[in-house]
């Protein structure tokens, strides 16, 4: 009986003074707003803007160059094929000389 009452009283003491014993559980902050560094956010935003734009511009430039080269190549081949045989021979000679 004595030991039981001692046990109950020690349990009551534990619940009354949790701060002295440290935290007893971990709790999520839930939806509490986070504190972000404004400078880092601004630098990240501007870096992303330029990366996105530069990637798109580079893709357009590469595509444009590849298309122009292919069109020129085909136009030249069509001119050669459409030209009369003698003229085509001259074109070939000029091309080999150059």
């Amino acid at each position: 009986m004595t030991s039981m009452s001692t046990s109950i009283s020690s349990s009551a003491t534990f619940e009354a003074e949790p701060a002295e014993r440290g935290p007893t559980e971990f709790q999520s902050v839930g939806n509490a707003p986070a504190n972000y560094n404004g400078f880092t956010l601004m630098v990240t935003a501007y870096a992303l803007i330029w990366v996105i734009l530069m990637v798109w511009l580079l893709m357009m430039w590469q595509k444009s160059r590849a298309l122009a080269a292919r069109v020129d190549e085909l136009d030249l081949a069509i001119d050669r094929a459409a030209a009369p045989p003698a003229a085509a021979d001259d074109t070939r000679k000029d091309a080999s000389a150059s």
Binding site: L41, L74, A81, A82
Partner: protein, 245 residues
């Protein structure tokens, strides 16, 4: 019958195109100076508010791209010409690029201003929806072929995408949300004078930038059509092998 190939000459349109890029680049440098040095720091949000000078004009260019896609789509359905189709495609691509900028810079600004990277606010959600519609358009054009049926379907999608624009624009006024009202509109917060100067220069610069980008993308579309014609001529002449060309 194949036409005789003539060497390319620099046309007035080429000169205007490169002049536009030159002016836009100069103004863009001024915008960077304005956003980081000329404009004062905002009292409540601090340095992160400087995202605004590129975030809001990017949203505006996203609208321009969507409007170009809408005009190109309607034009294509009425006339069925390659030019209108190229304009619609260019507009959709521009909407995706600037939509991506808006959807990355906005949450970064919101992280400081609201404490959250993302909230299901009406304006954020409708903008995300619009971005997804134009991504769908680009994916459709890239993978579904380039036949008349696919072009018509894409044109319908381009028109549907534009229907979302007024919803995005008026969402902040019609439904309560985290996103601030349009800053210059009735009920908006207003801007300090120097901030306003930088903002309007940025809007003007981004307008020129949008025109330059659309023009560049349409030129690529025209080149693609020239290539298709040249390939047809090559096939007609029996030059069907790439190495032979």
């Amino acid at each position: 019958m194949a036409k005789k190939h003539t060497p390319k000459a620099v046309t007035g349109a080429d000169t205007a195109f490169y002049a536009l890029w030159l002016v836009t680049t100069g103004l863009m440098l001024f915008c960077i100076y304005g956003a980081f040095i000329y404009a004062p720091e905002e009292r409540a949000m601090g340095i992160v508010q400087r995202i605004f000078y590129f975030h809001a004009p990017s949203a505006y260019v996203m609208y321009i791209g969507a409007a170009a896609c809408f005009a190109g789509s309607v034009g294509y359905l009425l006339r069925r010409t390659d030019g209108w189709d190229a304009l619609a495609r260019a507009g959709a691509e521009m909407s995706v690029v600037f939509g991506a900028i808006v959807m990355t810079t906005g949450p970064l600004w919101g992280a400081k201003a609201w404490g959250y990277l993302w909230v299901w606010d009406p304006r954020l959600t409708t903008t995300l929806l619009s971005l997804l519609i134009y991504i769908a358009y680009i994916v459709l054009r890239a993978f579904a072929g380039d036949g008349p049926g696919e072009r018509k379907f894409a044109a319908a999608l381009g028109i549907l995408g534009a229907a979302n624009l007024p919803i995005i624009h008026f969402s902040v006024e019609k439904w309560a949300g985290q996103h601030p009202k349009v800053i210059m509109a009735k009920g908006g917060g207003g801007l300090q004078h120097d901030m306003k100067v930088v903002f309007f220069i940025a809007l003007f610069t981004f307008t020129l930038f949008a025109v330059a980008l659309l023009w560049a993308r349409v030129r690529i579309g025209v080149l693609e059509q020239r290539l298709a014609r040249a390939e047809q001529d090559a096939i007609d002449l029996g030059l069907d092998d790439r190495t032979e060309a």
